[in-house]
């Protein structure tokens, strides 16, 4: 791709954090931007119609019918579609909504104690109806690449863009968060599990081995092990590695080594699939 790359960016069921992470290239932006022609980006520019694009970065999955419609339209108009960030790739945090019925989600939001006209709801005729569950982009259309991370670190975004500019395939880290983690491991299985606020973890040793529910061993590397370095367990925001089918089951496997103690951990479904429920083998609570 010798000429300027015609780039589109959009936020669907995401938080715009992936866009912000791109801006977090800071001064380096001035090197990357001249190679790009940003032809569509509602967050920063006023273009109204989606044009033909070389590369389109989609942030967020689909939560309503309008999102779904846009994903199809983007696919038709773009040569390369990238599911950008964990929400787009796996559903992300909004995917925790799949633990509940969609009607229930709405009911709760519009029936809080602070609401004065309980019983009224936004009209499906005016606002786009919610989909039955949160759907990651690759479950709706084929994509050329995925870039997980909540959000992907700026270097990962830049690496992917530069690779595309140079006509190469963007590459993702293959290792796990533990490989990047500065904490030392002794290969012991914890006897009991603790919650994050309990006690004071040893600053040098593996959190999992100290009994904290770290999920770095089932999570793709790329962040530089930010959370365990800051004294809290990894929550899996880069999703699974290429080796496994399902992040939750691979984590459940590791934790099962602790036997009955692992069963006592509260809220296992939202721990092992915190960011990936919509892409999991069992992706929605059954009625």
């Amino acid at each position: 791709m010798a000429d300027k790359v015609r780039l589109g960016l959009i936020q669907l069921c995401g938080c715009s954090g992936c866009h912000i992470s791109l801006l977090d290239l800071h001064e380096q932006l001035l090197d990357v931007l001249p190679n790009l022609e940003i032809v569509y980006a509602p967050i920063i520019a006023d273009a109204k119609e989606i044009p033909e694009c070389d590369v389109f970065l989609i942030e967020g999955g689909a939560r309503n019918e309008h999102d779904e419609h846009l994903i199809h339209e983007i696919r038709e108009k773009s040569k390369v579609v990238i599911a950008w960030g964990t929400c787009a790739v796996y559903g992300g945090i909004p995917g925790l909504g799949n633990l509940y019925d969609t009607e229930q989600l709405k009911k709760t939001a519009y029936e809080t104690e602070s609401t004065d006209n309980i019983g009224e709801l936004p009209s499906d005729e005016i606002v786009p109806p919610l989909t039955n569950s949160v759907m990651p982009v690759p479950s709706i259309v084929d994509v050329e690449y995925v870039i997980p991370g909540c959000p992907p670190r700026p270097e990962i975004n830049a690496g992917a863009i530069v690779a595309l500019l140079e006509g190469r395939d963007p590459e993702l880290p293959k290792k796990i968060v533990c490989d990047e983690c500065p904490r030392t491991k002794e290969n012991v299985i914890p006897e009991t599990f603790k919650r994050t606020f309990e006690g004071t973890p040893d600053p040098e040793k593996c959190l999992f081995e100290q009994g904290y529910t770290c999920v770095g061993m089932g999570t793709r590397a790329g962040c530089g092990a930010l959370c365990p370095s800051a004294g809290v367990p990894c929550r899996g925001c880069y999703g699974k590695t290429d080796e496994v089918l399902d992040q939750g089951s691979s984590l459940a496997n590791t934790f099962a080594a602790a036997g009955d103690e692992a069963l006592k951990i509260s809220d296992k479904s939202a721990l092992f699939n915190r960011f990936t429920l919509p892409a999991a083998l069992i992706s929605k609570k059954q009625e």
Binding site: S16, A109, S114, C150, R235, D267
Partner: protein
């Protein structure tokens, strides 16, 4: 009757669409702002251990995620009755200021400045931040530098620049290193200088656009902001309402919010319309954010920003009702955030390792409030004996402003259509 639709609404965080219905004479009769997204956080934090919620709710907004993280952890502290060490309070406040600096710089330079620097009539294709980089590279470089310092302040205290993680019930999981403190101290004076430069730029633009500012989007509303001892405070402890003409004040603590705030479901939008409950709906609609913060406080808490506030009040009145004056108000806050960050960085407790108190999960109800860059933010959770969330309510910054944005667009449409 004609109808005009503006979609998607651009350069704002979130998903919006505007419809303007015209009457037979072509005047805008009815303006509706539709917010078209709902994710359901109030429901899906239920069932989660409360200490996990501050790691979930930042995903409400990728720009003011730190504010969500902190309001959330404050709410859990309150529900469990945790008293956090003063060093943790200061380090949390610094984390919050870093987010303010990044977000205000982003909002002014990346979102608003293209209209001012390039002019509102410039080609939409270049009227964006990239156009600013080409037309005024020195402005763009300052914007980038301020964002970078703000984000590194969040990373130094919160562990991640976007969606920080260190806030845990009882305090913080990690204290800031002396090395990071020194790095930030070394650049903070430059940031204060850039803050002043931004204000000077804004003031020079005022001269050019004052007529527009005084005519477009001018509306009377209540204002809601956060203060401490009456002074402007991003991380304050008291909420204050001020009436449209400035004559009436109401103050309340976060835990009393249900007595003062109501929310009204409307059919054309996924967001509910919050209002001042003591006044009623819709008379009690109010605005939050920089303009509201400057309008409600007695004074700014830092010296340079206080001078700027006085000047602002002379130009726009008190309270200022001009929606476009938000930009100048935002820059006063950006300067104030840099000044306050310097005070904190010079405080020895900012690297103290005494940042966490022991806590026990228990049944409780807690409210956490901070002033997010776009306005005051409320998180409220109820927990059971094991500290698992059983009920949640969140009133997030942007929603407070949706109803009044709709009013401001209606007013602006009336003015613009009269001229054409």
């Amino acid at each position: 009757m004609g109808k005009i639709t503006i979609a998607p609404l651009t350069r704002l965080e979130g998903h919006g669409k505007v419809t303007i219905k015209l009457d037979d004479s072509g005047k805008p009769a009815d303006v509706k702002l539709h917010i078209t997204a709902l994710r359901g956080f109030e429901q899906f934090v239920i069932g989660r251990p409360a200490e996990e919620v501050p790691r979930i709710v930042p995903r409400i907004c990728g720009i003011c995620q730190t504010a969500h993280h902190l309001a959330s952890v404050k709410a859990v502290d309150a529900a469990w009755g945790a008293q956090i060490p003063s060093a943790a309070e200061k380090q949390r406040e610094l984390m919050h200021l870093g987010n303010m600096i990044h977000s205000h710089a982003l909002h002014f330079y990346y979102l608003a400045a293209p209209d001012f620097v390039l002019g509102p009539d410039a080609d939409p294709a270049i009227r964006n931040v990239i156009g600013v980089i080409d037309a005024a590279p020195e402005v763009a470089k300052k914007a980038i530098a301020m964002r970078r310092v703000g984000q590194s302040m969040v990373e130094a205290t919160g562990g991640k620049p976007i969606h920080p993680v260190t806030g845990i019930p009882g305090g913080l999981s990690k204290s800031m290193s002396e090395e990071k403190r020194d790095e930030l101290l070394a650049v903070i004076d430059t940031m204060i200088q850039y803050g002043q430069d931004g204000l000077d730029l804004m003031k020079s633009l005022n001269e050019k656009y004052l007529d527009t500012i005084n005519s477009l989007g001018v509306i009377d509303t209540w204002y809601l902001g956060l203060v401490k001892d009456g002074k402007h405070n991003f991380y304050g402890d008291t909420l204050r309402f001020v009436s449209p003409d400035g004559s009436e004040k109401m103050e309340f603590k976060p835990a009393e919010y249900l007595d003062y705030l109501g929310e009204h479901v409307v059919e054309h939008s996924y967001v509910k319309y919050p209002y001042n409950k003591k006044v009623g709906y819709p008379e009690g609609l109010y605005r939050v954010g920089p303009l509201a913060m400057i309008n409600v406080c007695d004074s700014m808490s830092t010296p340079l920003a206080e001078e700027a506030r006085k000047e602002f009040a002379e130009t726009f009145g008190r309270p200022a009702n001009q929606s476009i004056a938000y930009n100048q108000a935002r820059l006063i806050e950006l300067l104030s955030a840099c000044e306050r960050a310097k005070e904190l960085l010079e405080d020895p407790e900012i690297v103290s390792t005494d940042v966490k108190a022991e806590v026990e999960p228990k049944a409780g109800n807690g409210v956490g409030v901070v002033y997010a860059p776009r306005g005051t933010l409320f998180h409220n959770y109820e927990t059971d004996d094991n500290g698992i969330v059983t009920k949640a309510n969140m009133i997030v910054a942007t929603t407070h402003n949706v109803p009044t944005m709709e009013k401001a667009i209606q007013q602006a449409a009336e003015v613009l259509f009269k001229d054409n």
